[in-house]
Symmetry: C2
């Protein structure tokens, strides 16, 4: 049957890109995917020749795919890659993914630095959850972001690459639209970096989650597809389902959401100016007087 | 049972406002509703003493409720109200609603001006649909907007009030976010008016559709609840259902969407400047070289 062959060769197609109508075989899908990620990096000027790039790896499909593509570019662009893994301290989950990430970094010849909540903050995530009323994602998000930035600075990285894909971005954009949270809406898109904050890049930001999963699978990347046992942000889950339903009936709408947001951003640049201060306790960039990490840490420390 | 009495008196409650937890009896609901609409008009400086206000009426709950509240304010604020009705030419639908609107205007002592597509453009909506591939809503939206503005200008109105409620506003905002349509996103919220364009006000923009329907019902307003037979904008229908689901699990989210949009708007003011031009054919304000109404009219006129 003609309609199940690749749009570019006679091989059997394994993927139909609904919003463009193109069909790809394994080889052409990988080719398309890597090319598009490289174009994204070029368009947003994510990389400069000779830079040291920290790559946040969790062992999942997104971060390992990001690392894989960056390592393919490393020689040509003279990049110095450093994988950074954060061990939050989640029993029966993190150990396996750490093993996978380590193995893959060794395979690619990329040095891996591991930082743990326990060692840096004195409290593993499992313990923090028991000590507090807050949900795990609150601690995890704040502490992980801080440690990733600390590690990238300590390693002297020029940039920090994360595995956020199109779905992650679009969900965050829509969540902020719906909540009316202008602060986060702006922070999401404008990341100029600062003396204290390593600029972050998101090479997969234009790639749908489905395509990233397929890429990892077809490229033989040993990624974990396991969900974090704490995963439970019910509002994000709701928004994700909603956007996926919309995409079903309006193929390409994830891209229009992203494009619309990108058109908005330049007008919001003047908002940025008043958004960032320095934490009174640790000096890290903060939207309030003290940064979220310091406030959460205090909650975990019994007062004397 | 205590929990079914009004929060403000001992009467039986007929409405629970989920996002605030308040319960209202008939009298207190009407009181709350009218007060909040007046506050909205005050906050957005919609009215000035002594103005002539055109009120777009369709015979539905939104426009007749708007007219009802404005007429209650008319004496105090020395307002000169003129109801404006557009007869699109929709068989088996419009006639009944026109009758209702006429009756209500007479009851309130507000003069009513009726303009029809047939008389002004030479083509009723039913005919336009038969002559063209386009769907009815495209013609109707463009032509109705134009006639409402023409009528308001001819009557010398300072403002044109429409019945858009919170749900209408939020649906339009979210549709534009999702489509990435910055042009419409801006036009929706910034309406400074111009020499050619009568400034529009939306007194019900902060009132949920459900509350408007209840207000019309409890106030004995003879509003039609019939749906237009052409109603079929599938994307809006999808977005409406989506937002209503979200509101179910996150009471108050319609307000956060509106608030977030209002926080965005001031940053988008500089976008406005390049958005409006004059139609080369009729001189009306237009985002392109010619206005949408002139382009659609041409489609309906057989070329000689």
């Amino acid at each position: 049957m003609a309609n199940i062959t690749c749009s570019l060769c006679d091989e059997r197609a394994c993927y139909l890109r609904r919003y463009s109508g193109q069909r790809f075989c394994r080889r052409h899908f990988i080719e398309y995917f890597e090319k598009k990620v490289k174009q994204t990096m070029l368009r947003y000027r994510m990389l400069e020749r000779g830079e040291r790039i920290g790559v946040a790896v969790s062992g999942g499909k997104d971060s390992l795919s990001t690392l894989n593509i960056l390592s393919k570019l490393a020689e040509k662009l003279d990049l110095d890659l450093h994988a950074i893994l954060i061990d939050e301290g989640i029993a029966n989950y993190r150990a396996a993914t750490i093993k996978q990430a380590k193995r893959f970094c060794e395979e690619l010849g990329v040095p891996l630095t591991t930082l743990s909540f326990k060692e840096r903050f004195g409290t593993a995530l499992d313990e923090a959850v028991k000590l507090s009323q807050r949900n795990a994602c609150t601690f995890c998000g704040v502490f992980r972001r801080k440690l990733l930035n600390d590690a990238a600075r300590e390693l002297g990285c020029d940039k920090l690459a994360t595995g956020h894909n199109l779905d992650d971005e679009v969900q965050a954009i829509v969540m902020n639209y719906l909540r009316g949270d202008l602060e986060r809406l702006v922070r999401l898109g404008i990341d100029a970096g600062s003396e204290q904050l390593v600029p972050r890049i998101k090479p997969l930001m234009e790639m749908p989650e489905k395509e990233v999963a397929l890429y990892a699978l077809l490229s033989g990347i040993p990624a974990s597809f396991e969900e974090c046992p704490y995963a439970q942000d019910s509002f994000r889950t709701e928004v994700r389902a909603m956007i996926n339903r919309l995409e079903e009936s309006n193929p390409g709408i994830k891209f229009s959401i992203l494009r619309g947001y990108q058109k908005l951003l330049p007008y919001l640049k003047s908002y940025q100016a008043k958004a960032l201060r320095s934490c009174a306790t640790c000096g890290a960039p903060s939207s309030g007087e003290r940064c979220k990490a310091c406030m959460l840490l205090e909650e975990l420390t019994p007062s004397a």
